[in-house]
Symmetry: C2
Amino acid sequence: VDVISSSSNPTVRSARRLVSARGRRGAGGRFLLEGPEGIRAALTAGHPPTVLLATEAAAARHAGLVNQARRGGAQVALVAERLLAGLADTTTPQGLVAVVGSVAAGLDNLPARPRLVCVLVEARDPGNAGTVIRAADAFGADAVVLTMGSVDAEHPRAVRAAAGSLFHLPVLTGVAWPALRDALRDRGLCLVGADPHAADTVAAAPLHQPTALILGNEAHGLAAAARDDLDFVVRLPMHGRAESLNLAAAAAVLLYETANRQWTVRRKEAAVGR
Amino acid sequence: VDVISSSSNPTVRSARRLVSARGRRGAGGRFLLEGPEGIRAALTAGHPPTVLLATEAAAARHAGLVNQARRGGAQVALVAERLLAGLADTTTPQGLVAVVGSVAAGLDNLPARPRLVCVLVEARDPGNAGTVIRAADAFGADAVVLTMGSVDAEHPRAVRAAAGSLFHLPVLTGVAWPALRDALRDRGLCLVGADPHAADTVAAAPLHQPTALILGNEAHGLAAAARDDLDFVVRLPMHGRAESLNLAAAAAVLLYETANRQWTVRRKEAAVGR
């Protein structure tokens, strides 16, 4: 079996290009998945990689996964350990890196009757974006939206933090706020913004109804243009000295609280036979 | 005014040593704070830096903060931009890096009558540790404990993610599980572990009582030695396809839920005049 050891190999080179945002844009949004879990999630979600690069050791260790990728249409190539490491943002990609087509969707992919949507307005940290996508998936959100000016959801650190969830729910990117606002309202969602300095806590918002949770930038919070359009702006109740939470932690708590209230209502409705 | 421009300057060299875990241990746990917010939090908490390194531009921009540090006993030195960047883990330290003494405490610093303690058992990611410390502070926890084998809470990325909260509540580190378990029990805390595969959800745990929340490693979950000692092991209710949350996101949600239930009880008790 041939093992690619040259960094000028065309397959390796075109994969390496996807490490940068510019390279991903130039390649129609194709991006890199590191490690077996992410690749398995992509395959399970019917989103097979086009290319799978593996070290010899990893190909042996994950033979089933490699075969599944090949059957899904992936070109499988063995590469030297050092080349694979150069493709990975993680220090431990576990010997597998795959190239997959973009999953980023536009506003027309917003579901018709969503109950819970999470919107990040101008979020900048890729780890936060990925962690929010994972939490939104965990709590059953119908979509995540990253507005224009937000970080790339397919940045290697976002992909890693999302841990497969990028393939589980629609992730809408590059959406302008006014169009998004109209689309969320058209679908009957209540627009609830989060701000640690808000006067009201989450108790004041009707989160049991279909809700879009709107979170702002890590440093500057909610942009004024978005904030002025919201139905409610609320904060989480804090009892200590920290003034705020990390963006992804705040999103996770809000998603949990909203999902909890919505499911409480759904269970009650089910119990009375509606 | 002299601006240090040599990387062999002793003040710069001894600060640079604190970038690595080994260097921090060798320096009695002193660590680096990047940026004005962290330095302000340390000063406000009565934990002044011993050394403050600033670019000329930053010293002018943050003159009040620099003076406050100097009055608190810090040696203030102006350094060239490129030297300061070499000390910082962030790409944008905003021209200020300070050296502060360790805040890490031992088991004897566990408060006598805690209501809420958050324990990380063998957590490995510094960003997660810092984010958990920030969330624990926000939701009014009495302490955070990192067991022996966990990441260093004073790692630059942990310090940055904690955003000043390291100075707000006791952070106990390097604690062995059996001693910790006994100390938590002695203080009357219910030991509640988190595991996404647990049979019961958080609804099954008496979180309104004094509680120690116990979270495990990012990849392997709760260590068996700890798990076997717990009163409850519960999961968050999930409604989507993600099997779990990021460690810090899970901790934030559990801290929120626990603080919520405890405060609901306290408010009721206050209302009936107890």
